[in-house]
């Protein structure tokens, strides 16, 4: 997908976001000073391994961190709302924030089964945000829900609206959650691994659907995933996260063609590539893997968080957290050796 | 409202004399306080339970050979307006004699060979042999209407719903309704021969728990109930209530199981008597409301002078045990002290007795069980001695002193009768037999004094005391007569005079 020019108006603008969790043995920083922005009609993919802080970032934007445990410690999150106003989601009051959720921002979660309430019908759940934010009555809201179901490609929408989540297949459930997120025409859609739980054939359907909807509605999309293939498929720009920090960001095509961070390079290399295996097997080659594991938030290595697993690491890497360096104006890497590595 | 004032509510079936839920006088082992508000017997006890007087019988005569009783009947009417006649009386006595009806009086009326209606107002009862207890038995025979019951076969009679839906009697109040397990309501019988009752309604409320009855009394919902002596405290100095005291006619005793070898030696039994400080127990636990008993009786006319008082003397008790060789007989082994009394007061008494006996080296373990369990243990023809060495029990000792016979006569050892202590004392048996067959009222007391003397000396039981019993009535209740008679009476209570002040 070609990057769209970054002059379009910015919907979401995150600056220096830091999110911490209180746990028994102290406080951990799950997201550590990230900057992100998404423009209308643009898709930004947030990729990274499990535990790197992708979901915490999206939950911070929604201000849905577990109360008393998770909190935004620093930074700002500016959102351009439907009415054109720009609010800082970090500082507004809870009632206002609630008015934004489901209205200006829609969110799709990873597990379509568990993120739908098993005891209410699909239609009921989709019409709920319409009733809340638009004050629509039950009947109108239900009609709107049926129309939404129809637009996300569910055949026989009226009947399906009366069914319970368990009566739908996985793909249909995910379509239903997408319909729910889009119910109030949000300016920003956050999709947290919306296809991870799905089969490849269904994943392809959902990705196509999201692309179509985004085009039609012109909304901004923050797409969280750990699948680089999906990123290439759907996103304009990508931000690679590692241990709570963004380590590389830029237009998808450029980052994938010309990665400038050892972690990105490792990730790309460890993807099994279709049709490549037979050659590798014959050559006795192994799949390239990044050794080691993601560090625990509770004992982060000094300096660059990736340095213990990095084959390019030098002593300087252990001194301080490297700054984001510009590879070019739209492509940054958090590696002090970005110029040398290929 | 006047209607309210004319209604008396009470817990008439609360406590030992009550029998909640029973409507059939033939099957009644208690509950006569209530039954005799709407039924009446031919004869009844007077208010003090001292002598038998006429009720439906205006007078009676006994033939010199003591086998023919002739009753003149009063001019009474059934609640449905039909006259009460000698035919009804004959009918009732025959029902009561017939065990098929479920009558519990049959055995006591064994001596009756016939009952005949000589005319409408004269009933003649013939006995096969003189019986000193006939009049006592007759007080429990509530007259029943022949015209209402004669159609029902004897063996179906007990199962008939007539008793709880439409019973009719001759008493001052008429049955009006029964609300299952809640209350029975009676209405005044305005035609009562003793005059129109002062109350309009009288309600017998059921209480499964004595504490609840007390609560209802204190809350003003009922005007009368039986109260356990240790619950009296709240009423004693309260001018809103009147405490009615009465003799229980029940002697409490420690029954030694004479089948158990440990009680063979009379010195052991004496030691038990000396070891227990009955005065202290009576003073503190009963609040003085009991009289120590040194045989089955406490009534003056049947207690001879100069009997042993078994005053508290633990030293003597120890001495006696030593002499008897208690160490060899039983020593420290625990002895089960069985009882069917489950009240808090009884628990305290048992605790005191246990502690006092422990002082002299007799180790008893109290065990309170429910009545059926108790009966099944003690009435078993071959009881398990280990479970049953000693009982704490009570037995009716009046108004007819002959009542105790069944508990002490050798001929009454189970299964023949309720001599649960298995007392096999020929002297006692013959003393009892002599007293029972004595039909001369004047000599009878002397005979019973003899019984008392034997008991006092031989200690078939360890007699303890005769307690008082109490009822509490609202101070607003006027002319209310109640006495804690065994089985609830009957006695002359004159319900038609009961009244409530505004």
């Amino acid at each position: 997908m070609d990057a769209i020019p970054h002059t379009a108006d910015t919907i979401l603008d995150i600056k220096g976001l830091r999110t911490v969790f209180r746990i028994r043995s102290g406080e951990v920083t799950a997201v550590n000073g990230i900057d992100l922005s998404v423009a209308a009609g643009e898709t930004l993919a947030l990729v990274g391994e499990s535990g790197s802080g992708k979901s915490v970032t999206s939950l911070s934007v929604m201000r849905l961190l577990t109360r008393n445990i998770g909190a935004i410690a620093a930074g700002s999150i500016h959102l351009k709302r439907k009415n054109g106003a720009v609010s800082d989601l970090v500082s507004i009051a809870e009632p206002e924030m609630r008015a934004i959720r489901g209205n200006d921002i829609g969110m799709v979660f990873q597990e379509p089964m568990s993120s739908l309430n098993p005891v209410y019908t699909i239609g009921d759940q989709i019409s709920e945000p319409i009733r809340i934010h638009r004050g629509a009555d039950r009947k109108t809201a239900m009609d709107a829900a049926v129309a939404l179901l129809d637009s996300v490609g569910i055949p026989d929408a009226r009947r399906r609206a009366g069914q319970y989540p368990h009566e739908l297949s996985g793909g249909m459930r995910q379509r239903a959650t997408i319909a729910m997120a889009l119910a109030c025409d949000p300016t920003l859609l956050i999709a947290d691994e919306p296809t991870t739980a799905l089969d490849v054939t269904i994943q392809a359907q959902i990705l196509a659907l999201l692309q179509r909807l985004q085009r039609e509605r012109g909304m901004a999309m923050l797409f969280v995933t750990h699948n680089l293939g999906v990123v290439a498929e759907i996103a304009h720009r990508v931000a690679v996260m590692y241990a709570g920090r963004i380590v590389e960001t830029g237009p998808v095509a450029e980052v994938f063609r010309n990665p400038r961070h050892p972690y990105t390079i490792g990730l790309l290399a460890s993807m099994p590539k279709l049709g490549d295996a037979s050659r590798m097997k014959q050559a006795g080659e192994r799949l390239a893997a990044i050794p080691g594991v993601v560090p625990s938030l509770m004992n982060m290595p000094a300096g660059c968080a990736f340095q213990p697993r990095c084959k390019f690491a030098i002593d300087d890497c252990r001194v301080a957290v490297p700054p984001l360096a510009d590879v070019n104006p739209r492509h940054q890497s958090r590696c002090i050796r970005w110029q040398e590595i290929r | 409202a006047p209607a309210r004032a004319a209604t008396l509510s009470g817990g008439f079936d609360v406590g030992p004399g009550g029998f909640q839920g029973n409507f059939n006088p033939l099957a009644a082992t208690g509950g006569f306080t209530w039954l005799s508000v709407y039924f009446e017997p031919l004869v009844t006890y007077d208010e003090k339970l001292e002598k038998v007087v006429g009720q439906l019988a205006s007078s009676y005569e006994v033939s010199p050979d003591q086998t023919t009783y002739t009753f003149k009947l009063a001019d009474a009417k059934w609640h449905d307006g039909k006259p009460f006649t000698a035919k009804d009386a004959k009918f009732t006595i025959e029902l009561a004699k017939n065990a098929k009806t479920g009558s519990v009086l049959a055995a006591r009326l064994n001596a009756v060979s016939s009952a005949e209606a000589k005319d409408d107002k004269t009933l003649v009862i013939k006995l096969s042999a003189p019986s000193a207890s006939l009049m006592d038995a007759l007080t429990k025979v509530m007259m029943l209407p022949e015209h209402a019951l004669s159609q029902i076969p004897a063996d179906q009679l007990a199962k008939n719903s007539w008793w709880s839906t439409a019973p009719i009697g001759t008493g001052p109040f008429k049955f009006s309704k029964y609300v299952t397990d809640q209350y029975v309501e009676l209405a005044a019988n305005t035609d009562y021969r003793g005059g129109k009752p002062a109350l309009e309604k009288i309600i017998n409320r059921y209480f499964a728990n004595p504490a609840a009855a007390i609560a209802a009394l204190r809350a003003g919902e009922i005007q009368f109930t039986y109260v356990d002596s240790n619950d009296l405290k709240a009423f004693n100095d309260n001018k809103d209530f009147r405490v009615i005291e009465g003799n229980s006619f029940v002697v409490n005793y420690l029954g030694f199981n004479h089948d158990s070898p440990i009680w063979k030696d009379i010195r052991v039994r004496q030691a038990v008597m000396y070891a227990i400080n009955r005065d202290a127990i009576i003073q503190s636990l009963y609040g003085g409301a009991a009289k120590p008993a040194n045989c089955a009786y406490i009534a003056d006319q049947v207690v001879p002078a100069g009997i042993e008082t078994y005053a508290y003397d633990p030293e003597k008790a120890r001495q006696l045990l030593k002499e008897a060789g208690w160490d060899q007989i039983n020593g420290d082994k625990p002895i089960t002290l069985l009882t069917y009394y489950t009240t808090p007061l009884a628990a305290n008494v048992m605790a005191a007795v246990q502690a006092m006996l422990a002082q002299v080296g007799i180790n008893v373990t109290p065990r309170a069980v429910d009545t059926p369990t108790y009966n099944s243990i003690v009435l078993n023809p071959t009881p398990d001695i280990a479970q049953f060495q000693m009982v704490y029990a009570g037995l009716q000792n009046g108004p007819d002193p002959g009542s105790i016979n069944v508990g002490l006569n050798e001929k009454q050892i189970p299964p023949a009768g309720p001599n649960v202590a298995r007392v096999r004392m020929p002297v006692l048996t013959s003393a009892l037999d002599a007293a029972l067959s004595e039909t001369d009222a004047a000599k009878r007391s002397a005979r019973y004094q003899e019984v008392c003397k034997v008991m006092n000396k031989e200690l078939p039981w360890g007699p303890l005391w005769v307690a008082k019993r109490y009822g509490v009535a609202s101070a607003k209740l006027k002319d209310f007569i109640w006495t804690p008679a065994p089985g609830g009476g009957p006695y002359q209570a004159h319900p038609e005079k009961w009244a409530i002040a505004e």
Binding site: I23, R24, S50, G51, I69, V293, V294, P295, S296, M298, N299 | A211, I214, A215, D228, N230, D231, L232, K233, A234, N277, A280, I281, Q283, S284, L285, T342, T343, P344, L345, A347, N348, M350, A351, A352, Q354, A355, M356, A358, T365, P366, R367, A368, V369, D370, T373
Partner: protein, 291 residues
């Protein structure tokens, strides 16, 4: 993920203990119970009254300097009786809870793990036992067992397990389908192994809840038994039969110390066991260290 540095880590028992000690309310509960037990065991050393000594002159005395908790209806010292009764009540409660927990767990677990037929038969049996009126059950059991501590424990144990059996069964039916149980079966595990190695540790929370409820229940049941002439033979005190004294309205109203103190101790004991139970549940759950 909490991938710790591969330093030597202490053994599982030490860590369970550590988790338990981390729980402040559990420690409080432990202290309460420990204090209670110490008092119960040592009171003859520091308290001059004996639990069964009657003193008819001092009956129904109010709490005061001589009798701290007052005296009962025959002048026995309430403090001595509460402490002495605690010995019996706690013994009866704890042992019967353990026994009924074992019965309930085994029946529930066998029902869940031993196949359909065993399940159908045992569950019908449990239903049957649950519909039986407890009074009758008690009367029969007790007439067979007799009086005294151990028969009481026996009777209470036999009466209390069915609900637990049901809860354990429900839990293990779910557990049976879990992968790690499947793995054990794949390695040839038989019923005893599944029961003890998997069923038991994963029913701990149910057992803990059951135990805390059952402790109170057992103490009260013991009191109920003494109505039927069963249970603990008097004059021995137990919290239950001391509470029974409140059936007399005079005691209920005028001598409240006679039931308030045993009642208070009962509540404290149950509360403490509740706290400890929560702590134990955490201690047995290795994940509790997380947060």
């Amino acid at each position: 993920m909490l991938a710790r540095s591969p330093a030597r880590s202490p053994g599982p028992i030490v860590r369970s203990l550590h988790r338990f000690l981390l729980n402040r309310t559990a420690l409080l509960g432990l202290c309460m119970i420990a204090l209670m037990i110490v008092a119960i065991l040592s009171y003859p050393l520091w308290w001059s009254f004996k639990p069964n000594d009657i003193d008819l002159l001092a009956m129904n005395a109010q709490p005061g300097p001589t009798h701290w908790f007052g005296t009962d209806g025959v002048g026995r010292d309430i403090l001595a009786r509460v402490l002495d009764g605690g010995r019996i009540s706690l013994l009866v409660a704890l042992t019967s809870t353990v026994i009924s927990a074992i019965i309930g767990f085994l029946i529930g677990a066998v029902s869940a793990l031993a196949g359909r037929w065993a399940d159908a038969v045992t569950m019908r049996f449990v239903d049957l036992v649950m519909t039986l009126p407890p009074v009758i059950f008690l009367l029969v059991l007790a007439s067979i067992a007799g009086t005294g501590i151990w028969p009481t424990v026996f009777v209470i144990s036999l009466l209390s397990w069915p609900l637990l059996a049901r809860m354990v069964r429900a839990r293990l039916l779910e557990l049976r389908e879990r992968d790690f149980v499947m793995a054990a079966r794949g390695m040839g595990a038989g019923l005893p192994h599944l029961l003890l190695r998997h069923g038991l540790p994963n029913s701990i929370d149910i057992l803990v809840v059951f135990a805390t409820l059952q402790i109170a229940n057992a103490i009260l049941l013991e009191a109920g038994l003494s109505f039927l002439g069963l249970g603990i033979a008097p004059p021995a005190a137990s919290w239950g039969n001391m509470l029974n004294a409140a059936r007399s309205t005079a005691v209920l109203e005028q001598y409240p110390w006679q039931w308030l103190f045993p009642g208070g101790f009962l509540v404290l004991a149950v509360l403490a066991i509740n706290f400890i139970g929560d702590g134990l549940r955490d201690a047995f759950d290795p994940r509790a260290e997380l947060n």
